[in-house]
Symmetry: C2
Subunit: 698 residues, 2 copies
C-alpha cells in the first residue's frame, strides 16, 4: 500500500472528525440557557479563560520566536553548513506544531465554557440530557485534539517526506504543552489554594461564594488546567508517539525499499481516530443510568472497535500480524494499567479507607499513609510498561528478514505499542474534558440556585468525572512512558543518521557500565524531581501573591464582605496568569539546560543515559504524585460522606491537609513531568548532530 494514500486517508478521517466536532459544538450551543445568573457567571469564567489563553499565547509567541530562530540557526544542522532549506522546513513544522495544538486548546476552552452552564440547566430535565451536554462538550475537545494532531503530522510528512521534520512539529506541540499543562497547572492550583485559604479558612464563607475575589479564577483554573492543559498534554503525547513511530518506520522502509511501514503508522493512527468517532456516537445513558458506567463502557466499546478495525486492515492490506499484535498488547496493557491505578484512588477500595482511617490520628498520618500508597501504586504501571515493551520487542524482532537489523524492527514494535496505547486517545480526551465541564456545572448550579434535585444530579455527574479521571490519568502516564521509550529509540536512529551524514562512527546502544551513560543517568534521574519541586514552590509563591491581593480587596473595597459591592475578579486572574508563566519558565529552562550541559559534556552516550534516567525517575514520580494526590482527594470526599467522623471531625481536618498537599501533586507537578520528559527527549533528538560533534568527553 502506498504511504501517500494512507496519509491522505488520515487527512480525510481528520476532516470527518472535525465535521463531527462542529456538529457536536452546534448541538451544545443549541441547548437552552435561561438562568441569568448562570449566564453572567459563566460569561465571567469564559472571559477569564480567554484572558489566560491570550496571555499564554503571547508569551508562548515570544518563546517560540526565540526557539524558531535557534532552530533556524542550528537544526537539524548548523545553517552555515549550507542546510538552509531543511532548517526553514524545521522552523515551519515547529511553528505549525504550536499553532495546531493551540487551536485545539482554544476550541476546547470555548466549548467547555459554553457547555458548563447548559449542562447545569439541562439537569433540571434529568440526568440523561445533562450527561449528554457534558459528554458532547468534552467530545468536541477529543475530536479537535486528535484530529489536529493527525492532520498536522500527516500534512508535514506528505509535504516534506522527512520524518525528522515531524520531530520539529512534535517539539512545537511540546512547547505548547509545557506552557499549557505546567503553566495551567500552576494557575489552577494558585487559584484553588488561595480561594480556599482566604475563603473557607479565614473568612468562613462557603466554596464558590461570589464575594470571594478568587472564585472566578478558581473556576477558570478548572478549564485552563484540566481542559486546555490536559488537551495539550495528550496532543503532545499523541504527536510524539506518531513521530517516534514514523522515524523508525522510515528507517525500515529505507532498508526494505518500500513505504509500507510509514503507511501502517498512518493507517493505525487514522483508525484510532475513526474508532473514537464511532465510540462517541454510541454515547447514551438511560433515564436513571449510571454516568460512570456509561463513560467506562464507551472506553471499552472504542477499544473493541479499534481491535476489529486494525485487525481487518492488517488482513486487507497484508500487514504482518505481529505488528498488529504489538499494537494491541500496548492498548490492552494501557487499559489494565488504568484499572490498576483506579484501585488506589477508588473510594470503595482499601487504600482510600485506610488513609481516611489514618487521618483520625492527625494530618501526619494522612500524609504518611498517602505517600506510602502512592509509592506502591507506581508498581503495577511500571511492571505493565515493562511487560508491554518487552512483549512488543520480542514480537517484532523476528520481522527482520536478514537478522542484521533485528533491533530496528523490535524498536518499531515498541513504537507501535505506544501508538496502540494512544489509539483511543480521542475517547480519553473526551472523558477527561467531561470532568471539568460537569465540575463547573456543579458550581454554576449552586450559584444559580437551581435547587437540590439539580445539585444531586450534577454531584453524580461530577463524581463520575472524578472516577473516570483516575483511569484515564493512569492510562496517559503509561502511554507517555511507552512513547518516551520509543523516543529513546528515535534518538539512537537520529544519532546514527547524523553520524552517517558526518562520516563518523555511530552507536549501537547505551551501555549502563559506560561511565558517561551512568553519569547522564544520575543527572537525568534528578531532573524530574527538581522540576516538580520548582513547580510546587512556584504554586506556593504565586498563591502568596494572590492571598495578598484578596486581603487588599477586602481591606479597600467597601461593602465587599457584606455582598453589596463586587470584587475585582480580573485582578486575581491576572495574578494567577502572570505568576504561572513567571514560575514555569525557570523550571522549563532548567530541564532544557541540564540536557544541553550533559550533551556538551558527555556527548550522545551521556544523553542516552540522561534520557533513560529521566524516563525511569520521571515515570516513578509522575505515578506517585498523580496517584497519591487522587487518593487524598477521594479520602477527603470519603470522610465528608460521613465516614470516620464525617465533616468537622479530626479525621476531616487531617484529610483536608492531605487534599491540599495532593492538589499540586496531582494537578501541577505529576502530569507536567510527562511533558518535561517529552521536551528533553525531543531536544536530544533534534540536537543529536551537535552533541556528536561538540562535546568534551563524548
Amino acid at each position: 500500500m502506498n504511504a501517500s494514500i494512507m496519509e491522505i486517508v488520515a487527512i480525510i478521517i481528520s476532516f470527518v472528525a472535525f465535521f463531527y466536532a462542529a456538529w457536536l459544538f452546534s448541538w451544545v450551543k443549541k441547548q437552552p440557557l435561561q438562568n441569568k445568573e448562570i449566564e453572567r457567571v459563566g460569561g465571567l469564567i469564559r472571559d477569564g479563560a480567554r484572558t489566560f489563553l491570550k496571555r499564554e499565547f503571547l508569551v508562548l509567541a515570544r518563546f517560540c520566536a526565540v526557539a524558531a530562530l535557534l532552530i533556524f540557526i542550528f537544526l537539524p544542522s548548523p545553517v552555515w553548513t549550507g542546510s538552509i532549506i531543511p532548517n526553514i522546513m524545521m522552523v515551519i513544522a515547529y511553528i505549525a506544531g504550536t499553532v495546531f495544538s493551540g487551536f485545539a486548546g482554544k476550541i476546547g476552552i470555548e466549548v467547555a465554557t459554553l457547555a458548563n452552564g447548559r449542562c447545569a440547566e439541562a439537569a433540571k430535565k434529568g440526568i440523561a440530557p445533562s450527561f449528554m451536554t457534558g459528554f458532547r462538550g468534552g467530545a468536541v475537545m477529543g475530536m479537535a485534539v486528535v484530529g489536529a494532531s493527525l492532520i498536522g503530522v500527516a500534512l508535514v510528512y506528505l509535504l516534506t517526506g522527512d520524518s525528522t521534520v515531524c520531530l520539529g512539529f512534535s517539539f512545537g506541540a511540546s512547547s505548547m504543552a509545557l506552557f499549557a499543562k505546567a503553566g495551567g497547572g500552576i494557575f489552577t492550583k494558585t487559584a484553588d489554594i488561595s480561594a480556599d485559604l482566604t475563603g473557607k479558612v479565614e473568612l468562613g464563607i462557603p466554596e464558590d461564594d461570589p464575594r470571594n475575589p478568587a472564585v472566578i479564577a478558581d473556576n477558570v483554573g478548572d478549564n485552563v488546567g484540566d481542559v486546555a492543559g490536559m488537551g495539550a498534554d495528550l496532543f503532545d503525547s499523541n504527536v510524539a508517539s506518531m513521530a517516534a513511530a514514523l522515524i523508525m518506520a522510515a528507517a525500515l522502509d529505507k532498508l526494505e525499499g518500500g513505504t509500507e511501514y510509514v503507511g501502517m503508522v498512518f493507517c493505525f493512527t487514522a483508525l484510532g481516530l475513526l474508532a473514537s468517532v464511532i465510540g462517541i456516537m454510541c454515547a447514551r445513558i438511560g433515564k436513571d443510568g449510571s454516568p460512570t458506567k456509561a463513560l467506562n463502557s464507551l472506553t471499552y466499546i472504542t477499544t473493541g472497535i479499534y481491535v476489529v478495525l486494525t485487525g481487518a486492515a492488517t488482513l486487507i492490506f497484508g500487514y504482518d500480524m505481529r505488528i498488529w499484535g504489538a499494537c494491541i498488547v500496548g492498548l490492552l496493557v494501557g487499559v489494565i494499567i488504568g484499572i490498576a491505578t483506579d484501585y488506589f484512588t477508588d473510594d470503595t477500595k482499601p487504600p482510600v479507607h485506610n488513609v481516611a482511617k489514618a487521618s483520625g490520628s492527625g494530618p501526619a498520618f494522612t500524609i504518611l499513609s498517602g505517600v506510602s500508597y502512592g509509592f506502591i501504586s507506581a508498581l503495577p504501571a511500571m511492571v505493565g510498561i515493562g511487560i508491554s515493551a518487552l512483549a512488543a520487542y520480542k514480537l517484532c524482532e523476528g520481522l527482520d528478514p536478514t537478522g542484521a537489523h533485528a533491533v530496528e524492527y523490535a524498536m518499531f514494535g515498541i513504537a507501535m505499542a505506544a501508538v496502540g496505547m494512544l489509539s483511543i486517545v480521542g475517547m480519553i480526551v473526551s472523558n477527561d474534558a467531561y470532568g471539568p465541564i460537569v465540575d463547573n456545572a456543579r458550581g454554576l448550579a449552586e450559584m444559580g440556585s437551581l435547587g437540590d434535585e439539580v445539585l444531586e444530579i450534577t454531584d453524580e455527574l461530577d463524581s463520575a468525572g472524578n472516577t473516570v479521571k483516575a483511569v484515564t490519568k493512569g492510562f496517559s502516564i503509561a502511554a507517555a512512558g511507552l512513547t518516551v521509550i520509543s523516543l529513546l529509540g528515535a534518538f539512537m536512529s537520529e544519532v546514527n543518521e547524523a553520524a552517517a551524514g558526518l562520516g563518523i562512527e555511530g552507536i549501537t546502544g547505551f551501555d549502563i557500565l559506560d561511565p558517561l551513560v551512568f553519569f547522564g543517568m544520575l543527572i537525568g534521574a534528578a531532573v524530574p524531581a527538581v522540576f516538580s519541586a520548582m513547580l510546587i514552590l512556584g504554586v506556593d509563591k504565586n498563591a502568596q501573591r494572590m492571598v495578598a491581593e484578596i486581603h487588599r480587596q477586602f481591606r479597600e473595597i467597601a461593602g465587599l464582605r457584606e455582598g453589596t459591592a463586587a470584587p475585582e475578579y480580573d485582578k486575581c486572574i491576572h495574578i494567577a496568569t502572570d505568576g504561572a508563566i513567571r514560575e514555569l519558565i525557570p523550571a522549563g529552562l532548567m530541564a532544557i539546560i541540564a540536557t544541553m550541559l550533559v550533551g556538551f559534556i558527555g556527548g550522545v552516550e551521556a544523553v542516552g543515559g540522561f534520557l533513560c534516567g529521566n524516563i525511569i525517575s520521571g515515570l516513578l514520580l509522575a505515578l506517585f504524585m498523580s496517584n497519591s494526590g487522587g487518593l487524598w482527594d477521594n479520602s477527603k470526599k470519603y470522610v465528608e460522606a460521613g465516614h470516620e467522623g464525617g465533616k468537622g471531625s479530626e479525621a476531616h481536618k487531617s484529610a483536608v491537609v492531605g487534599d491540599t498537599v495532593g492538589d499540586p501533586f496531582k494537578d501541577t507537578a505529576g502530569p507536567s513531568i510527562n511533558t518535561q520528559i517529552t521536551v528533553v527527549s525531543l531536544i536530544s533528538s533534534l540536537m543529536s548532530s551537535l552533541f556528536l560533534t561538540a562535546s568534551i568527553f563524548g
Copy 2:
C-alpha cells in the same frame, strides 16, 4: 608487594583499633556515675536495648539458618554439580559476616548505654569532660565497626584467596544490616510516635516523663536505631565496597599475573582505619569550645591524614598514582556532598527558614515546601556521585597496558573511589554514634534533675550531634551510591566468570535499548519505592499496637497517671521489638523475591537493568527522604527557638506535623534503602550463574 603481607598488615591494624577501642571503653566506664535515678533509668534503657538485640539476633539466627541452607544448596554453584567445598566456604563466610557485624553492634550498644549517663553527669564539670565522654563512647563503636569489617574481609580472603567468598561475607553483613537498620528504624519510630501521640497529645505530659509507658522504649529506640542500626549499615557499606574492589582487583591480578591490586585494596582500607585511629586520638575541645567545630575538624583532620598516608604508600610501594587519584577524588567528593547536604538541613540556611515560614499557612505548606526542598537536595549528591564515578573511570581506564581490558581497569577505579569515600568511615561512625549518646544524656539529665546548667551543656552537645549527623548522612548515602555502582561492575565480573566456567558466552555490558535490560530497570526502580512504603506503613501499624497497649496500661494500672505506680515499660519494648521484626520481613522478602523473579524471567541482562534502576531510584528516594526528614526536624527546632511565632503558634503546630512525617522518612525508610540496594546487588552477584542458566527469556 605481596598481597598476603598487606592482609596481615590489615589484620594488625584492626587489632590496634580493637586495643584502642578497649582502652576507650574502660576510660568511659571509669567516668563517675553517682546519681541514682540516672543509674536506674540508664539501666532500664540498657536492659531494653539488650532485649531488642537478643530478640533480633534470635530471629536473625533463624533467618540465617534458612539462608545458609539455601546458600549451601545453590551458591556459588548448585551443590549437585559437585561444588561442595566452595559452598561450605560460602556458608561459613556468610555466617561470619552476620556474626562480625552483630558483634560490632553489640559493643556499640553496650558502650552507648554506659556512656549516656556518664556523659550527663560529666556535664556538671563543664562541656569538655562531657563532650569527651560522649565522643569516646561513640569512638568505641567506630573502631569496632571498622576493625571488625576489615579483619573479617582480610581473614576470609587470607584463608580462601577467593574474592567471591568475600561476597558471602558481605551478604552476611547485609542480612544483619537489613534487620538492624530497617528493623531498628521501625522500632525507634514506633516508640517515638507512640510516646508523642499518647504522652504529649493525649495526656499532656512532657517528653521523657517517666509515667509514660513508652518512654523507655523511646530511649531504647535511639540506641537500637541510631547506634546499632547505623553501625550495621556502615559495616555493610564498608564490607561491600571492599568486596567489590577485591573482585575487580582479583580479576586484574589474574590478567597481570600478580597480587598487587588485591594488596592495594587492603593497604588503602587499612590506612583508612589507621587515619581514623589517629583522628580520634586528636579529639579535644577547649573549656568553652564549640562541639560542632570539634567534630567537624576531626573529620577534616582524618581526611588530611588519609590523603598523606595513602600518598606515601603509593610512592613507597610503587602503586600507580592514578589509582590513588581515583581514591582521593571519591573521598573529596564525599566530603563536598556532605557539605552540600548540610545546606538543606542547616538552621542558618534558607531551606529551613522557608519551611518554617511556610508552616505559618498550615501543615500542608510545611509538607509541600519540605517535599520540594527534599527533591532539590538530591541533585548535588547525584551530580557528585556521577562526577566522581566519571573521573575515577577516566583516570583508570588508561592503566590497561594492552587496551583490551580498559573497562575492567576503569571499573576498578570506581571501586577504589568508593573505598576512598568510605576510608574515613571510622570517624563517620564515631561522630554518628556520638549523637544518640548525647541525646540520651540530655533525657537522663532531665530525669535525674541535674539542673539548668547541665541541661544547657547537654543541649549544646545534642545540637552539635544533629548538625554533624546531616553531614555524615549525606556522606554515607553517597558512599553507598558509589559502592553499589562498583557492585554493578562486580556483578558483570561474576557473570562472566560463571559464563566462562559454564563454557557459554559472557556479556560485555547492559544496553539500555535491550528490552530485557529496560524491563528490569523499570521494575528495579519501583522496588525502593515499594520497600519504603512497606516500612512506613509498618511503623504506622506497629505504632497503633503500642498506642493500644499504652491506653490499656493507663486504664488498668491504678495510680499510673498520678505517678504512684510504675508503668510496665517492658511490654512496650516487646511490642516495638516484635512488631519491628514482623513488619520488616515482608519488605525484605519483597525486594529479594523481585530480584529473583526478574532474574528467572529475564536472565542476567534483566538483572543488570534491575540493579541499575534500583540504584538510580534508590539513591533519589534515599536522599529525598533523609534530607526532607532532617529539614522538617530542624524547621521544628527553629520555630521552637522562637521564630515565626515560636512554641504554641500555628507555625509550630504545622512544623510538628512536618517533623512527624519526617521521622520515618529519615530514620526508617530513607537510610534502609541503602541496605535494600546492597542486599539485592549481592544476591544478584551470588546467583549470577543460576540466572545465566535458568531464565525464561535471558
